[in-house]
């Protein structure tokens, strides 16, 4: 079962929900931090480092002795990652998406691929939780290839929790694609509601079932509740605006450890998410 935890608006509590969900699971669980631009899960769930691997994307490299500067490659590339100046090729690896097109179009066979480092993936083990931590190098623009590399570590047959980046654009879509269920974390404020609507539309576009967690529930107004009711989206958990939660979060502590009275609520959240995902699978089987 793949559970993605996402939100339109940032700072609503995605990581809080992800790490606490992982902690209360009674079986082996994977937590994959797909917010590779600003990964935070490791600040809450540290553990023994099991593996570390650099992630590279294939970018073109020109053999100057073969290149005659014809410009086929640069006119093919949609991302302007090659330019021909004075009969020789300049490459801009930071713009390259790694499609491999330039290599195929080069009539002289002058281009080959080399790896260009974009970040690292580290795997930690703490109790029953295996944390896969993707971290983009500073200055690298494109997160999706690293997110795909993190997701390639998903193991079948266990619970995999994906901590998504904020927003609704390519890094988020790359993360939640193929998830069985998406948990959208929001807060009951105008910004929270506005960005929740965008996130619900995005999840709808990808045809994934979703439920909502409302954080700091007494801090705002009732419009998020009304929206969920109107759209028939289940509210899976409400977390109160409790200064103790904020303070324990600030120190990197899990809610279920610092404030054990909240543990049953996260256990129930996991149960409800599992139920949503099971129903979803039954329904999609009915269509086949």
């Amino acid at each position: 079962m793949i559970i993605a935890v996402a939100s339109g608006k940032g700072g609503t509590g995605k990581t809080t929900v992800s790490v606490n969900l992982a902690r209360v699971a009674r079986q082996s669980v994977q937590l994959l931090d797909c917010d590779v631009e600003e990964p935070n899960a490791h600040l809450f769930l540290t553990g023994e480092l099991k593996a570390r691997e650099e992630v590279r994307v294939p970018v073109p490299e020109a053999d100057e002795t073969l290149c005659d500067g014809c410009g086929e490659c640069s006119s093919f590339c949609r991302y302007r990652s090659l330019a021909v100046i004075d009969k020789s090729v300049l490459t801009f690896p930071e713009l390259c998406h790694g499609c491999g097109g330039c290599i195929r179009v080069c009539p002289k066979g002058a281009l080959s691929e080399k790896g260009h480092r974009i970040g690292v993936i580290e795997t930690f083990q703490t109790g029953h939780v295996s944390l896969v931590h993707g971290c983009l190098d500073v200055g690298v623009a494109m997160a999706p290839p690293l997110i795909r590399a993190v997701k390639s570590r998903i193991r079948k047959g266990c619970i995999s929790i994906l901590d998504a980046p904020p927003g609704t654009s390519c890094p988020v879509v790359t993360t939640i694609r193929d998830a069985d269920v998406v948990v959208l974390v929001t807060e009951p404020t105008p910004f929270g509601l506005h960005d929740l609507k965008l996130a619900v539309d995005m999840v709808g576009e990808l045809k994934i079932t979703c439920g909502v967690v409302i954080n700091r529930v007494d801090a705002g107004d009732g419009r998020v509740h009304a929206f969920c009711r109107d759209r028939g989206i289940p509210i899976l958990l409400e977390i109160p605006d409790d200064r103790q939660i904020a303070e324990s979060y600030s120190r990197g502590m899990l809610i279920v450890d610092a404030l054990p009275e909240y543990r049953p609520r996260f256990e129930e959240l996991l149960a409800r998410v599992t139920e949503l995902s099971t129903n979803e699978r039954k329904e999609s089987h009915a269509y086949l």
Binding site: G10, H97, C99, V138, G167, R251
Partner: protein, 301 residues
Amino acid sequence: MRTDVKTKDSRPREIVVISGKGGTGKTSLAASLAVLAGNAVIADCDVDAADLHLILKPRVLKQDEFRSGNLAVIRHDDCTGCGLCRELCRFDAVRVSGEEPGQSTYRIDPVACEGCGVCVRFCPAHAIDFPEQTCGSWMVSQTRCGPMVHAQLGIAAENSGKLVTLVRQEARRIATESGYPLVIVDGPPGIGCPVIASLSGASVMLAVTEPTVSGEHDLERVLALARHFGVQACVCVNKWDLNPEMTEQIERHAKESGALTLGRIRYDKSVTRAQISELSVVEIESQAGMDIREIWKQLNL
């Protein structure tokens, strides 16, 4: 009264409000700065979850489509089902149904397609079209504190970095042509392509963080990004009293890395109250508003 003489450098200054971590108060702060400035051009560069319009209530004067990139589409009637497109696609965007060779139906998943054009170029039957995409829209508006350029990225659309670049260029153009001295940019969270597009070439970056382990970690990466692009960084800690020791630690590290610390904003529930009333924090009576006024003074723009 004398008219202002243009100085030798008449280009408008550009301040980018950014945070690394989401939800630390970028938009609340950017809206407040816009109100305090009174005559700045405002650019909302958080194009995939834009919220500034909820406070500044822009009246749209001009709206345009944002067209960028292309998407591969297979014409079923011409497809021979050879499967080469699927073999060549690096983004796992070609989906197939049916098992028998020659009987299979191929289609491109529009969400996964990166618009590279490899399948289009190499399809032996020339059965793949490559139409240009509309990825959203962008607007020039009027607000109570100056012109505003903002945008809306399409659902699950790509090219947010290019849309950010477009919004910023337009804001700078308006500022230069109409003589506004300042552009205020509300940036996106993270450190990836839309953030780089918001930051590169700006006069100053104001990073808003919070005194938490995540806030501290994410700020470090944003400060590294500012150094990478040679942009002067300033830091302010929001909700600082949630963890005073952490606030001090963050400010110390920020100074060590060459950033200026501009001030602190206390935890104040009126920030949410202002948002619900569709006002900026400095437009209601609040202690957080006083803190923001102090930061504005320190910025000295």
